[in-house]
């Protein structure tokens, strides 16, 4: 009876998890409100903005907490564990999609409108912010899974290098390396927006 009056907002994530496993609805509401948006956006970004699949994976993630939360080691940080589980769900989803629609994806990539053609952006107004963002989104989706995961955890979820290393279960040096390559690839894909790249392209065009 006394416990009903408890304010779960003051509870840590680690303390809420065992209550959720026992079916405490108020504890679940509190935990869900803390992570629903974060995790949904993580899935949304990791699944190339597929809202339906993002909702499915969000549900799967919290089902895992409700039914198998007792496997969570309370000595660990909950958010790190949550991102690790979410990352694994994404990997499974990639495998599933790859198995089912490998050829279809290739076809889609082949018929993308001329965004891959850098010369299409060789226009004074090509540096428009919205266009840049659109190109960035596409470039992000084209990254390898591990690089994309690293990039999203760092710049969307704003996890520290150490936290990312725990989530991805790899050394911090590997995380730094993956981040470097992710940034490098993105920058390369967006080089049309760099003045020096444009100058270089201009020069090459003039000299044939």
């Amino acid at each position: 009876m006394i416990s009903l009056l408890k304010n779960y907002k003051k509870y840590s994530d680690e303390k809420l998890v065992p209550l959720v496993v026992k079916g405490n609805e108020r504890a679940f509401n509190e935990l869900y409100s803390r992570y629903e948006k974060k995790m949904y956006r993580f899935f949304y970004r990791m699944l190339n903005r597929d809202t339906e699949r993002a909702n499915d994976l969000l549900q799967d993630l919290f089902i895992k907490i409700i039914e198998k939360g007792d496997r969570f080691d309370t000595d660990r940080k909950f958010s790190t564990w949550l991102y690790a589980v979410a990352g694994n769900l994404c990997k499974n989803e990639y495998r599933r999609v790859e198995r089912l629609t490998n050829n279809q994806e290739k076809m889609i990539a082949d018929v993308r409108p001329g965004l891959d053609n850098e010369m299409d952006f060789y226009l004074p107004n090509a540096l428009d912010r919205s266009l840049f963002t659109a190109r960035l989104t596409e470039a992000l989706e084209e990254l390898e899974d591990i690089h994309r995961t690293c990039f999203i955890l760092r710049y969307q979820e704003e996890l520290s290098i150490k936290e990312i290393s725990e989530v991805m279960d790899c050394p911090e040096g590997t995380v730094k390396s993956r981040l470097y390559y992710a940034l490098r690839k993105l920058s390369d894909k967006l080089q049309v927006f760099r003045p020096e790249a444009l100058n270089k392209m201009n020069y090459e065009k003039q000299t044939g």
């Binding site: 089902i63 969307q156 927006f193």
Partner: protein, 242 residues
Amino acid sequence: MRSRLANIDPQVEQLMRNKNFAQLTEAEALLVEQTFSPAHYDATRKTILAATEMFARDLPLPSPKVKANLLKAVAAQREKSTNTNWWSTLLNYPVPAWQPALGISLVLLYFFIPWSNTENIANAHQFAVQETDKAVQEAHGLLAASVPAVIVPGRRKNVGPISEDLNQKNTILDTLQEAAQIFQRTLRPVTDRLSVPAMQLSNTTLATNDTAGVRAQTMEEYFIDPAHIMAVQDQSRRLVSF
């Protein structure tokens, strides 16, 4: 040299978030140039800022259906948890709610324990078998009835009857006993005058139970002494002749 390092220093990354290459101090520029060329530094900075801005702007929300489905799962989990080990939840209360719960349980347990002594006594009374003597009653000088001993449930004086039937029976017996006593009192002047004991109490009052309509306390064997009859007849003859 630059590409061989192939990782990003968090310090450089922090600089990218705040300054373009032209704004860097000499020491910062030296640090940055270990990994990036000035152009590459600015390009990467632009990517990071654009991505951060895009992530902050593009904020989709999950469907409310997800939460509705999850709440069902929580309810199912609660039911499952309650069915399996409801008692263990008592120990999880930070406030020691288990103490009053334990007290209540003990009190309830006290009432449900079948205390052995009470039951034995009750059983002993319910199934006690006691033999009684036969009751013989005189009626007009003849042996009217001979009631054999019967086995009846045990009954103590001033203790409530075992069943309602027995209660009714005892009420009838009490009435009969009173009627017998009145009858005896009415006849006493006559019998006293005859100065002959019409009845004699037997010593067979071992029985504590009711038998054949006579209460245990009045369980008597009535018999007629022939000497008394002859004495009475003799006295009657004398009175007649007188």
